[in-house]
Symmetry: C3
Subunit: 352 residues, 3 copies
């Protein structure tokens, strides 16, 4: 049983396919769920996603030029409008009905371009809610990373708070509070939440520099929604646990009054092929914070991701050496396993 | 249905395997139709092609040395004559009858080395007729290119005149005459011809520089013969269409009197593996033309080929992402499709 | 029938997996028989080999740190002792019985680390006997090489003395004595020996420089033991053939009195994947010889190996082009074929 077969891809869902600034009037090719997409912007700035494979002779459209809102095949000049309809065939008046390429419903939100990959009607409501990424109250940074592993391995990585003290011991991890942490996992239909908090403990070295040596409360909440959305909600403050109106159980809870630092991470991990994925992440710092501080926090997050990538890619290699290899579960896997279960449920529902 | 399965390789045919100057007394390895060949010259200069895989332990012969007309296996010293017969086994007088490697009938013509890849007797008459490549009336240039696509994609490319205005808009293409062009396709057993002519139209920018702004006639004829031979016959002149004795319907027609420029392209696209091919082409300019002009024309042709390669290799990638993907035919595909049909017919005949 | 299928790997055997000096307190990853191993030393210096794939989420252990004699998974901090038992799971007191990784019995001998890859109890007696590699009477040099071919091709190479005059004509080969050599092959259960001697012949150019032009006797004995051990025993001397007490039939025979030069090569060729192998070799020069001379002999052996690798890797390519391709046997193959037969017998015995 390969990891691929045990966790097939859900199709009727929004997948992040590009950073907004990657999509311009110069067409961009990107493979998503094994399909070639070409991404570009119409003249009014609307992002367009078509199959990057001309219906005629299967040439890529992405090296072609834009003619108004249409893309012209670089091979024989067929033109396709943003709906994927062929509007022009050189020297031929009659355009066959089959002359079209797949068009993917797109939406631009949170600094990302999202494509709906399934046959069912695209439902805007199924986009993850990252509204803080569009709020002036938050300092927003984000980026795109390519990882040579199955997307589920990368989801595992985010759903699992226990790896931070090990993989990230040189960056964002802190072995000191690992022992005092309380962790629980909440599972609802279509959502898995892992909560971790540490009450009244000395801050980790990095936080001591910023906030002094006094004991603090620290919380981290990670939430998964199929097919591949992860929200993290983190913060710290002095004596803040138990503050009226502050709800640890929801990634959407408003930041508590008097917190020292609050941030939200928002990630979509989009399958490229069975052994590779695209990692899009938007990091939000509750403000006001100086630009420099937001930049530093983002740089640290990117550095930590590079630490993960090393492990993830070698894990993928290990799985390919023996696709039938079974895992042993430990108590920290509750969130990871429930997230995988939610993935499988979502695929099963789609199939029924 | 992969492109490979829909168009298998014909075996009883001549395939170009090297430029004549590539084959010397230093053996050359080249994979043809999935088989390793070693190419070298006998002492009298005759080219030899043997299986580059010793019958003994399957070592390559190509790193071995030549002993007279024989090649000596670099591993254990077995020697093979140009017929593939083992003539010497170190320390062993009795040579088993099975001790031989495949020998491929070769012929050197048009600056190329051609190998007969099938089991049937090699028929010299089945070599394509490119006699102008050996005539003093023509200035001849040629080259070898490696392309990472199935050979049929590259044949498609040559059989299809409509792509020139798009892929080659920066080099040899001209959008201006695309609309006025008349195209027809002739299909006979074992031969498909696409003819295209433009009568009394302003020349393309490149030609204006050389011949002035007056309207001219321009003709292009492309002919395919299985398994993978393409001849193109092109020219332009003032008021030349309808000249007595000039036959647009044959690539072998003599150049008409008073033409401004006449050239013939001769190409053999030899399968290497299912996803790669060797592209051999010989470009003939009707003379007399200055060497420099022939060089420039050839450099332009090579530049245009590089433009094709970009599209062809990404098309191959697209096909590998979904080998079952169907194509949509347009009217310009008549020649391409008839050429593919001719390929399939030739393979079918060979099998029967 | 692929080479892989015709010669499966024996598992209950010792395989060299690293040079002793490669294994330190910095863990080393190496793939052996398709399995990922991590190699390191315990605090007392004992070498340890564990599966380089954590039982928990299949992450590699090799980027992890050592905690005493244990290795800590870099992903989630699980610790494994040298027996592969999980001794620590962060934040979890109860350790499941299944929480373990494969531990491989190891032995350090002859400057190499050897791993027992099978399920049966490791038998120290089945280690090959290279005791001269540990004797002060011999000058010892050794090295590790990676070759992109099936391990059996590399075994063939060593078992076959006839290739030396060809592959190594520029280094250790000598065509001159090829004709006068007498070769025979001895086959016993679990051992195949090829002997070659040349009596009273002029030495090869390299030896003339060292020992003068007078005729000498030269002997070479190569012995194979499954799964992949090869010992060679070589020497030369004046009028030495027939010396009382000198036994040409055994690689373990004491060097004869009055020999000019005696050396023993000891090689283990360990499968990595179906198309790649690890080559470990220990070269022993009977002493006393100056260090410089031993260094030179070793450098020459390494140069000769590079000549073999070129041929072996292209042979592998040839086999992959047509896995069904049959070989033709010649008389020199007796040793090679008997060695392959011994390999197959050993695998068959293991399976029964």
């Amino acid at each position: 049983m390969t990891i691929h077969k045990s966790i097939p891809h859900q199709r009727n869902a929004w997948y992040a396919v590009a950073m907004a600034e990657e999509v311009t009037r110069t067409p961009l090719r990107r493979v998503i769920l094994g399909e070639p997409l070409v991404l570009y912007r119409a003249e009014d700035g609307t992002a367009v996603a078509l199959e990057d494979r001309c219906c005629h002779r299967l040439a890529p459209l992405s090296p072609g030029k834009l003619v108004g809102d249409c893309i012209e095949c670089p091979y024989h000049g067929l033109r396709f409008d943003p709906d994927g309809t062929c509007t022009f065939i050189p020297g031929q008046l009659d355009i066959p009905a089959r002359a079209r390429v797949q068009a993917y419903p797109l939406v631009e939100r949170y600094g990302l371009i999202w494509a709906w990959m399934g046959d069912a009607a695209a439902e805007l409501a199924r986009l993850p809610d990252w509204r803080w990424a569009e709020s002036a109250d938050w300092a927003v940074r984000g980026g795109y990373f390519h990882i040579k592993c199955h997307y589920a391995l990368s989801v595992d990585n985010l759903m699992d708070l226990s790896h931070i003290a090990y993989v990230h011991s040189g960056t964002i991890g802190s072995a000191s509070d690992a022992e005092k942490a309380v962790i629980d996992t909440l599972s609802e239909p279509g959502r898995v939440t892992v909560r971790r908090w540490v009450e009244n403990q000395p801050p980790s070295p990095g936080f001591q520099k910023r906030f002094g040596p006094d004991p603090i409360d620290r919380w981290q909440l990670i939430e998964f929604q199929p097919p591949c959305y992860i929200r993290t909600f983190k913060g710290l403050g002095k004596g803040i646990y138990g503050t009226a109106g502050f709800d640890f159980t929801s990634a959407e809870s408003d930041p508590p009054e008097g917190a020292l630092s609050v941030s939200r991470g928002n990630t979509c991990i989009t399958p490229e092929t069975d052994g590779t994925c695209h990692y899009f992440t938007v990091h939000c710092h509750h403000g006001p914070v100086p630009d420099e501080e937001a930049d530093q926090a983002w740089a640290l997050a990117a550095e930590a991701l590079a630490e993960d990538v090393l492990i993830l890619e070698q894990t993928q290699e290990n799985m390919e050496l023996d696709p039938a290899k079974r895992m042993v579960f430990i108590h920290f896997d509750e969130g990871v396993e429930k997230a995988r279960q939610a993935m499988r449920m979502a695929v099963k529902e789609e199939a029924s």
